[in-house]
């Protein structure tokens, strides 16, 4: 099903974000999932459970349906905006979060500690912005061109916003400067987003023609004042952590936990690596590390299998 190697430039692997950013986004995403699932237990009928389950399988499968974009790369439907429009923000978030977790578990797309960041970018942002834009455009009762246009705008915005959030996190982690990140990620996704918008519009128009009852029924409980207050607190805490502590020189919370004599800041570098004329050796060294990995791997397996055979 997966034709060869496919890059998913939105799924951040481990080791790219600094631990502080990754952990605060883990906290944010974990809290919002707990929050959404609590609301479900209280107010929702069991009818929603299979719908969310099958739709997460649908999104997972649909993301494997590629279309060529340009220069040999290919894009696919992300589907966050679509879910936000169809299911509302709460159920949409839970469904998208399931898809992101499954992608990390099955395909190793996105890291373990970076899961919070990925759920935030690919799940929360696309779902919330998609449904918000769709509702702001007043398209809930619309039909025909207006419906398609609103779907297109919602899909495009969801992609651009989510890519920009990713660029911001990379910049806060000091991994990629904001300018480069925004240009590379935002630009690429502004192009991909056209396809996302077109597909979102296509699916919504199709559903409006074939099963309008699916599009216009309201499953999820609406937002109440308590939810808005809770949501604000949820967003505010990591934001404070990110903005106030993220750029300061405070020691990393995890690093201070494990404060052994060797865990000094990244600034301390051995003289072996600081000579800049040895790029080739570094590349070779990295490849040699893999060769060594393979050698140990094969040796262990050989020993094990010989023991098993005798």
């Amino acid at each position: 099903m997966r034709d060869g190697l496919q890059f998913r430039p939105m799924h951040i692997p481990d080791g790219i974000l600094t631990n502080r950013i990754a952990l605060s986004l883990d906290a944010l995403s974990g809290a919002s999932i707990l929050f959404a699932s609590r609301r479900f237990k209280l107010e929702l009928s069991a009818r929603m459970i299979p719908i969310m389950g099958v739709l997460s399988a649908f999104i997972f499968a649909a993301q494997m349906l590629n279309f060529p974009v340009f220069g040999g790369t290919s894009g696919h439907l992300v589907g966050g905006a679509l879910l936000g429009i169809m299911l509302g923000p709460m159920a949409g978030l839970l469904t998208m979060a399931t898809v992101v977790v499954a992608q990390a578990l099955f395909l190793q797309d996105g890291g373990l500690l970076a899961l919070g960041a990925n759920i935030f970018n690919i799940g929360a942002i696309t779902v919330f912005s998609g449904s918000a834009v769709f509702r702001l455009l007043g398209a809930e009762q619309a039909s025909g061109r207006r419906l398609a246009l609103a779907g297109f705008v919602a899909g495009w915005f969801s992609m651009v916003l989510s890519a920009s959030a990713c660029a911001f996190q990379l910049a806060l982690s000091n991994a990629v400067p904001l300018g480069i990140g925004l240009t590379a990620m935002g630009g690429y996704h502004a192009v991909i987003g056209v396809a996302e918008g077109a597909l979102t519009a296509g699916v919504i128009s199709f559903l409006h023609k074939v099963r309008p009852d699916l599009l216009h029924r309201d499953f999820t409980p609406g937002f109440k004042l308590v939810d808005w207050a809770g949501g604000l607190v949820l967003v505010a805490i990591p934001l404070v952590v990110l903005v106030l502590a993220g750029s300061s020189g405070l020691p990393d919370p995890l690093q201070s936990l494990l404060a052994g004599p060797s865990s000094i800041a990244d600034a301390a570098v051995s003289p072996l690596l600081s000579n800049r004329n040895q790029d080739l050796y570094r590349v070779l060294g990295y490849l040699a590390l893999f060769a060594l990995f393979a050698a140990i791997f094969l040796a262990v397996r050989w020993i094990r299998n010989r023991k098993g055979a005798s």
Partner: protein
Amino acid sequence: MKHSFIDRFGDLDSPLHVLDARTKIVGFTALTVAALLIPAGNSGQFFAFFFFIAILAGISQIPLQYVVGRTAVILPFVLLAGLAAPYRGTQRWAWLAALLLRSTLCLLILVLLTNTSRFAEFLRGLRKLGCPRIMAVNLGFLYRYLFVLSDEIMRMRQARDCRRVGALGTISEMKILGSMLGTLMVRSFERADHMYHAMLSRGFSGEFPVAAPRRFSWRDLAFVSLVALFIAATFYL
């Protein structure tokens, strides 16, 4: 149709596969966190981690080319960070090397974690570790219906390819793809209705039963203490 892209090595038999899913989740997460904390330029520690994980991977019976091939996933991000390297002054190469090594290590650990359990057992482990029920149920349904839906997608793709001649314009391609996805979505909703009735009539409680679940045994204790010892040794010696 053939589905071999998911969960493919969960049925192998190795000392790692025998462990309880909770042990693996906790142990490998701890290893990931530890790998993320290795300071730049500390080559001995990186080397120790690669050595340890190579041994675990060798024990696990997962094919070598799969384990190494999956590490290519990190390349786009490393390239992006490489673009930014000139802005970091004199320590840029050490920093880039540390970033590359850390993310490679974490990816190898993730491959080991996710390919040494059957998914149902993994889910049970997650549930016991406090994952919300609705997420666990969602993941279970995703796993159960993914194969059904991707079968349908493949059939639709085959039907489309049979009926069209040559390449169409991008807009017509998008229209076709939109209708395909829309059809699939309608079918998904209808399937969800059937599932709902099946759930009601069978008394589904929200848990997916596992045949002969693994228990926490001396092996698990040994694995956890081995990992803890290794981490402590590399950080404090």
